[in-house]
């Protein structure tokens, strides 16, 4: 138990510190690297909670795909973080106010949740028995059966995203030479090779 608590505090501290460094570091590439660290440690936290599937998703999707994509973009775009931080002080008051309001709201909600009168609502919350099935297995059991509708809908949404990306960016450029295998195969020696008789000592 003590090891679990220690691990939790270790991961939690690193996650919060890394999260802070994402916005504090001067070099955008460092920011992305700190972001990866934050993702990784929160993946560790998920493992501690027994949510190994989410931890794997965190590693594969967030670190493997999203963060690496961020890294590419940051490196290619050559973002100057000094320019980006220019408006920081200007927007600090309004941002601070909104943040404070959100924090207060969250506080209200959490307090009413823990100390509210009627706890039967929360008690009724369905929760799978952890000891019987692992959560990867239980997700697999319902994803293609109970939730097939949502799964298919998500697939169509991704299709729309793909069509959108092609519609908005694809241009057909004229004059691009492409390999046409049929033409290549159908070429005969007669059309491709021309035999010339060269009289000796004269050249062409």
């Amino acid at each position: 138990m003590i090891i679990q608590a220690l691990t939790f505090y270790l991961f939690a501290t690193i996650a919060v510190a890394a999260g802070f460094m994402v916005i504090a570091s001067r070099n955008p590439v460092h920011s992305v690297l700190y972001l990866i660290l934050a993702f990784f440690t929160s993946g560790g936290l998920f493992v501690l909670m027994g949510a190994e599937f989410l931890a794997m998703i965190m590693l594969i999707v967030y670190i493997g795909a999203v963060a690496v994509l961020f890294l590419f973009v940051v490196m290619m775009l050559d973002i100057n973080s000094v320019d980006m931080k220019q408006g920081f002080l200007q927007y600090l008051p309004i941002g601070g106010v909104i943040g404070a309001i959100l924090a207060i709201e969250l506080l209200f909600i959490v307090s009413s949740w823990s100390f509210g009168g009627d706890t039967s609502l929360i008690a009724a919350t369905a929760r799978p028995v952890v000891s019987e099935v692992g959560n990867t297995q239980s997700i697999g059991l319902v994803l293609y059966t109970d939730y097939i509708y949502a799964f298919q809908a998500a697939g169509i949404i991704l299709l729309v995203a793909m069509i959108g990306a092609i519609v908005l960016t694809h241009r057909s450029r004229p004059g691009v030479k492409k390999q046409n295998i049929t033409n290549q195969v159908h070429r005969t020696p007669e059309s491709a090779v021309e035999l010339k008789k060269i009289p000796p000592g004269q050249g062409i």
């Binding site: 209200f108 009627d118 609502l121 009724a124 509708y149 169509i156 949404i157 299709l159 069509i163 519609v167």
Partner: protein, 476 residues
């Protein structure tokens, strides 16, 4: 074994869209015409397939999908709006050099999202429908990618839409946390208690904010004028019609299926949205010179009027909203068919002043536009009057006298700018002629819509009966 039959409309549209994508890719130069007409065909087949759907409430997909009279009614409206939008787009896209077959496919996919929205009975299916619809609409808005206005509109719509999705999800997560379920029925049981948890109310507020963004109710309307103005006109015509119907239907379903027990709380929100939308829609429209911007503010105002009926919180109130939406959809289709016909030699024009003297140069077009303007203003003998009459009646029946009086006042202010267009057309000196009149298709669409508008006033009984039937099925 679960049946897929309740989702027949969605299946037809989605499978059709995917098949048409293949047709479009492989049919070369003629792709645009072929795919556009075939997608109208797909929508018609989907419309016909609605007769197989049950009017009694039926669930499918493990309770994530619901079909009832209310859903069918709205699905038909959405399909009509989408089919009209595609048919109106032919000429415009050809003239503006935007002949891309993906246009019709994206409209099909957006339509699929909307039909999913009106059949949502679970917070996940609700969100999936909204996202499918919105994502396709973002792309459609920016489809004229060489125009900075279109891309700017697309980007604005995307960023603000993502923000609203965030609010909606935040609200959904709170509701899930406090109700312990994502299912509409189970949530409604969880809120039917003496004291509703504080977080539940918070979640509902956030959820309603997200939905208010989709129907562009004030104070979540900021995107509407810019997007309507920047988007290519056929896309604007689509945006102003079907998505509004879908989002309003979803709002009604959430209010009456999920949180009927919290009517005291949500009624205040809806009344506020209604007041604000009517006021902003009427007042800000007065100063517009661009007709698409004007239609944007007009749509904000109309959402406000529709919400008047909803704030009554009764079954007949819902019916009045459905009547209002139907009439609004028809008026919009007709008006936009004529707006797309405002073409000069040098290109499209969108200025209201370019309509000057239209009654002399093109009397038929002016007469049709005048009918739509009278109807939008809610002046008898047009169907627009019937719509307004019912929503205000329902508000009065529910004892919301102030709201009804305010609504009438705002429609008087609104009448000013609609009638100003009529005045410009009939009493101002012509400034120049539109080089080609409406094409044959546009004439048929706008003429048909105008006829329906007049007919809707003379003989509204079938519409009222259908709306009542739809509303009843929601309360069973």
């Amino acid at each position: 074994m679960q049946s897929l039959a309740p989702a027949i409309v969605e299946l037809i549209i989605v499978v059709g869209a995917m098949a048409l994508l293949m047709v479009g890719v492989f049919s070369g130069k003629k792709a645009f015409k072929t795919v556009s007409w075939l997608s109208v065909g797909v929508l018609v087949v989907a419309m016909i397939s609605t007769v197989s759907l049950p009017v009694e409430r039926t669930y499918a997909f493990n309770g994530m999908f619901v079909i009832d009279g209310f859903a069918i009614f709205n699905k038909i409206l959405i399909l009509i709006g989408a089919a009209m939008a595609i048919m109106m787009s032919f000429d415009f896209l050809a003239k503006e050099n935007l002949k891309r077959f993906e246009f019709a496919v994206l409209i099909l996919l957006a339509t699929a999202g909307m039909t999913m929205m009106v059949s949502a009975s679970n917070l996940i299916s609700l969100y999936m429908g909204i996202e499918l619809q919105s994502l396709a609409l973002y792309v459609l808005t920016a489809i004229n990618r060489d125009s900075s206005r279109s891309t700017e509109a697309g980007l604005k719509y995307f960023v603000l839409g993502a923000l609203s999705s965030g609010m909606l999800l935040y609200g959904s997560s709170l509701i899930y946390g406090f109700a312990g379920s994502l299912d509409f029925g189970e949530i409604s049981q969880a809120v039917a208690v003496e004291s509703v948890p504080f977080g539940m109310i918070f979640g509902l507020v956030f959820l309603l904010s997200g939905l208010a963004f989709k129907i562009s109710a004030v104070p979540f309307h900021m995107w509407t004028p810019d997007v309507y103005e920047g988007a290519p006109t056929p896309v604007t015509a689509f945006l102003a019609g079907a998505p509004k119907v879908a989002a309003m239907a979803l709002l009604i379903r959430v209010l009456f299926d999920v949180v009927p027990a919290m009517q005291d709380q949500w009624q205040q929100i809806i009344i506020f949205l209604s007041f604000a939308s009517m006021a902003v829609g009427a007042v800000l429209a007065l100063v517009q010179t661009n007709i698409k911007r004007l239609m944007a503010f007009s749509s904000i105002g109309h959402v406000g009027f529709a919400l008047v009926g909803l704030s009554a919180g009764t079954e007949s109130g819902v019916a009045s909203v459905l009547i209002y939406l139907t009439i609004y959809l028809v008026m919009n289709i007709g008006a936009f068919a004529l707006i797309m016909s405002m073409r000069r030699k040098e290109g499209m024009t969108e200025n209201i002043n370019d309509l000057a003297g239209l009654a002399r140069t093109r009397p038929g077009m002016a007469a049709a536009l005048a009918i739509f303007m009278f109807s939008l203003a809610g002046i008898p003998p047009m169907a627009g009057f019937i719509g307004k009459f019912f929503v205000f009646m329902m508000a009065l029946e529910a004892g919301l006298t102030t709201l009804a009086i305010f609504g009438v006042l705002m429609s008087v202010i609104g009448a000013f700018y609609y009638l100003r267009i009529v005045k410009i057309m009939y009493f101002d000196e012509p400034v120049g002629e539109f080089d080609v009149g409406p094409s044959r298709g546009m004439k048929i669409i706008s003429g048909g819509a105008a006829a329906l508008i007049v007919l809707g006033f003379v003989w509204p009984a079938p519409l009222i009966a259908a709306a009542n039937l739809a509303a009843t099925s929601l309360f069973m």
